[in-house]
Structure formats: C-alpha cells, structure tokens
C-alpha cells in the first residue's frame, strides 16, 4: 500500500468507513502549534477555545510517536508522507515552535485547553464522544526497556514499528495478508486541569482528579466520560490518539495515530465527583487506578458497590453480590505507575431501561 495515494483520499475513505456524513459541530480546534501542550494538564494555559455547555467541538490531535523532535521532517520523508499534509505540517510546526513546560513535566501531545463557560470546582463535566476519524492511514507502535510494563525487563532494546491502516476496510495491517486488527479509534487522553494548587500534571499516569491517560477502548464513538471540574472553565485537553487497543496495553504505547474527535461538552452544576467514571451504550464503567493492580481492583469494586447501592437502592451485600455476578473486571493499563483496572456493569440486567444519547451502530469491537 502506498501512503501518498491513500493520504489524498483519506477524508473520503474515513467517511465511507465510519459514518455517512461528518458530525455537525459548533467549533473547530485544530492542532496548530499554539493549541497544544507537550503533555501537560494545567490551568495556566490561556484557553485555546471558549465554549458553552451543550456545544460540540471538532478537535484535531497530533501524535508525535515515531517523529524525532530534533528532526521532524525525517519521519515524513522516510515514510513517503508529503510535508504539506496537514498532519506533517502540524507536527513539524509543533516540534519546532511549541515549548516544553518550564517544570520539565512532559508527555504525549495534547490539544487544548477547551474552556467551558460557567464550569466551577464542584461541577461535573460530561464529555460525549460523537465520532472519531483518522487523519492519516498509518499508526506507530513501540516499546522500550525499563518503562513500567509487564515485560519491561525482558525488552532488549527500543523498538518502533509503523503499521499501515486500510481505512476502507477499517483494519490495521499488522502483517499484510496474514494478520489484521479491526480499527476502533479513540482518544487515549481526555482530561481536565488539576486543582491550581497541585501545579502541572504530566500526561503520563491518569488520576482520579483529572482523568487523563486512560488509554481505554470503551471511550470510542458512543462513549461518555464524566470528569470532576477542578478549576473555573474546567480546561479540557485531549490527545494520544489510538487506532485500536487491547485491554492491558502491555507494550506501553498502543497503535498511536493522528485523529479528529467530535465531542459534546455538558456541564452538570454542583455535582462534585471524587473519581471519573464512564458510560457506554451497553455498560456503566468504573475504574481503579493504583500502582498495584490488586489495589486498583479494590478501588473499582468499591465504586461498583456504591453505584449499585445508589442506583437500585440495594443494601451492601446485594450490591457486592451483583458486582461479583455481573461485572467484568479487565486490566486496561498494566503500566507502572498508575495501573488501571476497569469494571463494566452491563445495562441489560436492569429491567427498567434508561435513556442514552448514542443511537448509532455499535462501535467497532472484536
């Protein structure tokens, strides 16, 4: 597969693969070098965009995986990608012009902040993923020794591999003609600024307070993320596009890609939230985050029990039992620090059906 031929028709191909028409949006936030941070969540950045609750935003994200910051053009010329392609243009400008945070905190590129008018500490910000589209038909996976993943000590050297994507057939060509992985794109990072007192957060470990690097495949099209608001305006960032993801993400990066996300932001006033949680068309989702997976399971279990007690008026034992009987626990990030476990409570066990905003086809999953 030749990149250049596909790149020219990428937009049209995405349309064919993922939706009949582009989602309507109120604002567009491109990943130009002034609209991104090198992996920092902080309230100190001037808003890249100001919106009202209920509005929809198209957000481009740039993913620098595989690109050498000192010589960004090399990756694109090596891989036959035109330097005037929007993604190449954005990434070259970012590498050359976007400064590091002075604290030295850094991580995956994030687009933002989106400032939600009226958001105050003690509110909840609901972020609906209306659609996710590919900006380029390739992705990059890599791993390296000593990086906190399960076999980090066995990895002999850094390793990077670029994989082509067939957007028309919606698969990643893992081994062309032999092994293909279905695409299910999502933003690995979605989060808000932490409380001002805590300073800048790096885009590495996710936290209960700001969300961030969930790397969670359930946050694809149709998913909803509920985040606690820590500062006025919330200051939402997103980035770290993934073409697909297995629960576990054992190599550390996933199949890193450049994506465009379409989000709706809804503010819930005076609803303090101790910990981010999610909802999908089929499940209520809670997460536990801790250096130890055992402790992460414990956190997630507690939240399921609390939720079921409140939702269904169950006593502690019934809620604990229902968690054991119906909730699926999976390892989302087997990555130190801040390993993450998800707990999925199926909606189909409740006879009383609750309304959910997403009406589209079930997102691509294998």
């Amino acid at each position: 597969m030749k990149f250049s031929r596909l790149a020219l028709s990428a937009a049209a191909v995405c349309t064919a693969a993922f939706a009949a028409a582009e989602v309507k949006y109120d604002h567009y936030l491109p990943s130009s070098y002034t609209n991104v941070t090198w992996g920092v969540y902080s309230a100190e950045y001037a808003p890249a965009l100001k919106i009202k609750s209920g509005e929809t935003v198209k957000i481009d994200i740039a993913n620098s995986m595989g690109v050498n910051r000192a010589n960004p053009r090399k990756f694109f010329t090596d891989n036959n990608i035109p330097l005037d392609h929007p993604v190449a243009r954005d990434l070259i400008a970012i590498c050359e012009k976007t400064p590091n945070h002075p604290s030295g905190v850094r991580g995956a590129l994030l687009t933002g902040p989106v400032y939600v008018e009226g958001a105050e500490p003690g509110d909840t910000l609901e972020v609906r993923t209306l659609d996710v589209r590919f900006r380029v038909p390739y992705g990059v996976n890599s791993t390296s020794p000593g990086a906190g993943h399960p076999l980090a000590d066995l990895v002999p050297r850094p390793w990077t591999h670029k994989f082509d994507l067939d957007l028309e057939r919606s698969v990643a060509l893992f081994k062309p003609g032999e092994i293909e992985l279905p695409l299910a794109p999502f933003m690995g990072q979605m989060g808000v600024a932490p409380p001002a007192a805590t300073g800048a957060f790096g885009a590495g470990p996710p936290t209960a307070a700001h969300g961030g690097n969930f790397d969670f495949q359930e946050l694809c099209r149709g998913g909803t993320l509920f985040l606690p608001v820590n500062v006025a305006g919330a200051h939402f960032f997103t980035g770290n596009g993934h073409a697909l993801q297995g629960n576990g993400e054992i190599t550390n990066p996933s199949l890193e890609v450049n994506l465009t996300g379409y989000f709706q932001f809804i503010l819930h006033k005076k609803k303090p939230l101790a910990m981010s949680y999610m909802e999908t068309p089929t499940h209520y989702v809670f997460v536990g985050i801790h250096d130890s997976l055992d402790e992460a399971v414990r956190q997630a279990t507690k939240q399921c029990v609390d939720f079921l007690q409140k939702k269904e008026g169950l006593d502690y034992y019934d809620a604990y039992a229902l968690t054991s009987l119906t909730t699926d626990f999976a390892v989302v990030r087997a990555l130190l620090p801040a390993q993450m476990v998800s707990a999925l409570i199926p909606k189909n066990i409740f006879k009383t059906k609750t309304d959910y905003w997403y009406r589209g086809p079930t997102p691509t999953k294998y």
């Binding site: 076999l151 002999p156 092994i179 697909l244 297995g246 055992d294 399971v297 279990t301 054991s324 999976a330």
Partner: protein
C-alpha cells in the same frame, strides 16, 4: 476400592429444551460420596471411571456451597421441592457424610482416567453440553474471605436465587435479571505425585482447577497438560453465571449436568493449560498478585503465539498490546488469575476447522438449559 455406581449408558440422548443442541454420551458418572473428591486434586486418588480417548461422559455435579447439614429443612424453608435428582444427590451426600463423620469440602466428580494419557501429553476436554439440574443457585460471601473487599464484609451473607433456564436468566430481584452463562468452575487433572494433594481453592498453571472462567462453556475446549498416567480428571463447582473477577469469592453456585468429551493428544509437551472457543484463543496467568498474573499471562500468550505463528518477541508483544484483551478472571487470593482473549478473526489464514459450530448467533444459544 471405589466402585463406579452407574454403568455405562451408551447412546443415551439428551435434548435441550431449546431443541438446538443434543449430545450423546458413552458413560454416565453420578455424583456420590464414592464418586467424588472433596476439595483437592491429587495423583494418589484412584479413578472411578476409566475411558478411552474420544469418549464422552455425562457428569453430574452439585454444589454444597451454602447448604446446611440439614438440607431438607433448608429446601423446605426456601420453598424448593426436593423431588429433584440433584437435590437428592445433595441430601444423600450430606447424610453419608454424617454417617461417616466427614466434613465435605467442594465436591469434584471423578476422577476419570483416560487410557493412554501419559505425562507430556495434552488432555483436551470439549464441553459438549451443560444442563441445569435444579432451578436455584446460591451466592454467598463472608468476612476474611479472599476478595478485594473481604475486610469490609461485616458478617457472613448468602442469598438463594431462582434460575430460569427457559428464559436464560437468573432472577436477582423483581427489577434485575442476569443472563445465564453456565460453566464448570473447576476442571482439572492431578498434579505430579510429588506435589501431593493440591487444595482445590487456588487454580494453578500445572493442573488447572478452579479457573472460574465462564468462557469454558458449551463449545469450548480446555487443554490440560497431563502430569500423571491417565490424567486423573475431576470437575465440579458448577456456576450459573460469572462476572470476570468474581470479587465476592463466590458466584451463583448451582447444579449442572455436563457432557464432556476427552481427547488425548500425544507428546505435545504442553506446559500450561490453554482454552479455545469458537471465536478466541485464551492464555492464562496465575499468581498471588495480579501484577505477577499479568506478567505470567503475557509470557504464556507470547509462548502460544510463537508456537502458532512463529512470532518473535517484539511482534507478539506488540500484537498482544494492540489486539488482545487482558481480563481479570479471579481477583481472589491466593491464585489470582488473568486470562488473555486473542480473537481468531485477527488471523486471515485461519481455517475454521474447530469442532464446534454454534447453532445460531449469540451467547444465549450457547446456554443450553
């Protein structure tokens, strides 16, 4: 010497009420105090049934979890009729145990010896049929258990649930019903003689055992490494359904009649149990810490991909990171378990020669009532 109480009943016919699945069997193994092992796996246990490779065995299993020493009073209070074969088995077990002054731990029906199985072979166990023997199940939890919130449980607790096989549902409450996912929580072979008696609580990567893995349902194959002559297989711990994680330590413990087919694959050198379903290959990792289980599961999944596809370290590591799901099977110490779901659909050259063909799409069809 133990005796096999029921003889072989050849070519009996079992039809599910759904009418979609039927399975014949070559032997019928009932569950009695003499045809079950209570709470352990060991090479020393003499088989109660010896079969040939390829034969199918109808195996009755029961759960004693939550059943008091006077089961008849318990069933009467619960409004459950004792006019039921599984309940009669339970009453008989309890009464025999009283006579013999025994405390019965979780009953594992068997052991079954498979002729010709030797150390270094693989024993494939195909699940042909699973049928509920009684329409109730019991869930319980207790303080000091082994789940993630065991320290927060103030007192022992148990609940009896009704099972409705015709509708594929377990009834949790008037407003909550759960889809049935029947499986045998325990399926294992004897460990090597030098390991002695293995308590049946924690599973191991040697003998299998207490996987509590709902994927091992009708249509699945469990591949067990043979450690002793004949394999010495037992099964029990029937579950009506299961959330991955099993955080209370128990699920809906019920009574199931399974038809299993046993196939010996000679000199495979399989070291760690594996599972195959119509749609997935499954690798497992077991360790007291989930972090250790995660690592063990990763290494085992890589070993599988190296054998199957000749993948080198980076290729399989990357493949698993992007294309497989790591699930928490048992968040229960000791013996926490992670299973890795590897979709068959990723492999374009995959020829679907697998033995099981689902009768119709959807897991509900697999839940043979």
């Amino acid at each position: 010497m133990r005796t096999l109480l029921s003889g072989a009943v050849a070519l009996a016919f079992v039809a599910s009420s759904a009418g979609t699945r039927a399975a014949d069997f070559d032997h019928h193994l009932k569950v009695t105090i003499d045809t079950a092992v209570f709470g352990y796996y060991a090479a020393e246990t003499p088989p109660v049934l010896t079969i040939k490779s390829g034969e199918r065995v109808k195996i009755d299993t029961v759960s004693l979890s939550g059943i008091p020493d006077d089961p008849e009073t318990f069933y009467r209070e619960q409004g459950i009729s004792t006019d039921n074969a599984a309940i009669q088995d339970i009453i008989a077990l309890k009464s025999e145990a009283k006579k013999r002054n025994l405390t019965l731990r979780g009953p594992l029906t068997g052991p079954i010896a498979v002729e010709g199985a030797e150390p270094g072979d693989t024993l494939e166990v195909r699940v042909l049929s699973l049928k509920f023997r009684a329409n109730y199940g019991i869930n319980s939890t207790r303080p000091g258990g082994t789940g993630p919130l065991s320290d927060l449980v103030p007192r022992p607790w148990q609940q009896v649930y009704r099972i409705d096989p015709a509708r594929h549902r377990a009834i949790f409450s008037p407003t909550i019903e759960m889809p049935l996912q029947p499986h045998l929580g325990q399926m294992g072979v004897a460990p090597p003689a030098e390991m002695g008696r293995l308590r049946s609580g924690p599973p191991t990567m040697v003998h299998g055992g207490n996987f509590d893995l709902r994927e091992i349902t009708v249509g699945s194959s469990l591949y067990l490494p043979v450690s002793v002559k004949g394999g010495i297989f037992t099964t029990g711990d029937p579950h009506a359904l299961q959330g991955n994680g099993e955080v209370t330590g128990f699920t809906i413990e019920c009574n199931i009649e399974g038809i299993l087919q046993f196939i010996v694959h000679k000199a495979t050198g399989l070291k760690v149990p594996r599972i195959e379903t119509p749609t997935h290959y499954i690798a497992i990792g077991i360790h007291d810490e989930l972090d250790g289980a995660m690592r063990a599961a990763t290494l085992e999944a890589q070993a599988f991909l190296k054998e199957k596809e000749g993948m080198d370290f980076f290729t399989s590591y990357s493949f698993l990171s992007m294309g497989a799901d790591f699930c928490v099977t048992r968040a229960l110490k000791p013996g926490q378990m992670i299973h890795v779901m590897i979709p068959k659909s990723h492999f374009l050259a995959h020829k679907n020669t697998y033995w099981y063909r689902p009768p119709s799409p959807g897991i509900a069809a697999l839940a043979t009532p």
